[in-house]
């Protein structure tokens, strides 16, 4: 659901999404610390695989998104990570259209960034599970809202589309909250610098 397909959105939305996505990917790559490349790659792979696990649910079927986890760990690097995974999903499996890659990137990466700014510092300060869970759930909720918004801007009935998307993703929010909370707790305990580095001043670690 989070993967919008070709031919659903209006041209303006597609162009707008593409511009935003290009800017986001560019900034994400510019500010990517070489030390964090392995993490970025692995989380990109996790995101790529997470969308393939699929749970039939009511009238539709849903999958995990994991954008909250990517956001709190990677910060801006989540944008290129998500973009790369989406390109591969579109090419290999036909998830989401090729022309709407930009929109899909924005729909999933923008919530990741928002979660990063809202929760990454709080997770470091303590209460990793609670804040991680909040990031996981909120990221999915925001993705639903953005999907609904993109459909609405393209002339669909917003309330109907948003309700459909949102209802289908309630269980996903619960699962993602648990997963992201657990991951945040684990990282906070075992490898706190993973969370630390993501909000370190950009490229300040160089040299």
């Amino acid at each position: 659901m989070a993967h919008l397909v070709d031919g659903v959105l209006s041209g303006e939305v597609v162009v707008g999404g593409t511009v935003l996505a290009v800017a986001g990917v560019g900034w994400g790559l510019r500010t990517l610390d070489p030390e964090r490349i392995p993490q970025t790659g692995v989380l990109s792979a996790a995101f790529f695989v997470a969308s393939l696990i699929h749970v039939p649910l009511g009238p539709t079927s849903v999958h995990l998104i994991l954008n909250g986890l990517l956001g709190i760990v990677l910060g801006w690097a989540a944008v290129p990570a998500i973009f790369v995974a989406l390109v591969l999903q579109a090419v290999f499996f036909g998830y989401g259209g090729v022309t709407v890659l930009g929109v899909n990137t924005v729909v999933m990466a923008a919530p990741a960034l928002i979660c990063h700014y809202l929760f990454a510092a709080r997770i470091r300060a303590g209460g990793a599970f609670i804040w991680g869970a909040a990031a996981g759930a909120l990221a999915v909720a925001m993705t639903c809202a953005l999907v609904g918004g993109a459909l609405a801007l393209s002339g669909r009935e917003f309330i109907l589309a948003a309700k459909l998307v949102f209802a289908a993703h309630l269980p996903v929010m619960v699962i993602e909250a648990a997963i992201t909370g657990a991951a945040a707790t684990l990282l906070h305990t075992v490898k706190p610098e993973v969370l630390m580095a993501s909000t370190a001043p950009l490229r300040a670690s160089d040299g």
Binding site: V5, G41, A45, H63, L88, Q89
Partner: protein, 205 residues
Amino acid sequence: MVDRAPLYLRRLAAAVLAVVAVVSVSSPAAAHLLKVFALVEGSMIKGTVYFARSAPARGARITALGPDDVVLAETRSGDDGSFVVPAGPPVDHRIVADAGDGHNAAFTIHAEEIAGPVDVPAGPTAAPAQPRADRTGQDPSSETDREWIEAAVEAVVSRHVTPLREQLNAYEDRLSWHDVLGGIGYILGLTGLAAFFLSRRRRES
């Protein structure tokens, strides 16, 4: 700093392996992809809308479009994702499904598949062995008999071919683990490239 990276990589690699292991023991993964499949049966087009390799799409809006996007028929899919629309004139039918939440899909039925309205007799469907036993001794030359045989053959062939076509279609939908591993490989490759370029940039600066 120098000895941290390999340890890091080892742990992350272990994490990836864990994810892959969990995924591979779970049910066959399915594409998150709306699909329509439709066949002509007599004067009707029967089909299903479904999310590839998983759930049927209930209540999806189905539109049959002729050339120039003329709407020929409209309906909604049932609880099992199935739908029936009357076949129109013998032109290409584009069956478009819209799940209402941003998923849509299309399937084309070509003009030659639509033979025009044919009433399939009830006989062969109810008792498949009967026509052959009954009819062999009779003169097949009369016009009504010929029509009857044609219709009966069409019904039987369609009954046998439909599961095959559905199976073929399911094959196409199947998520291949080669592709999943290929995708992960691409990501690792890109990661390596990024590491290469960024380290070079850092050396230069």
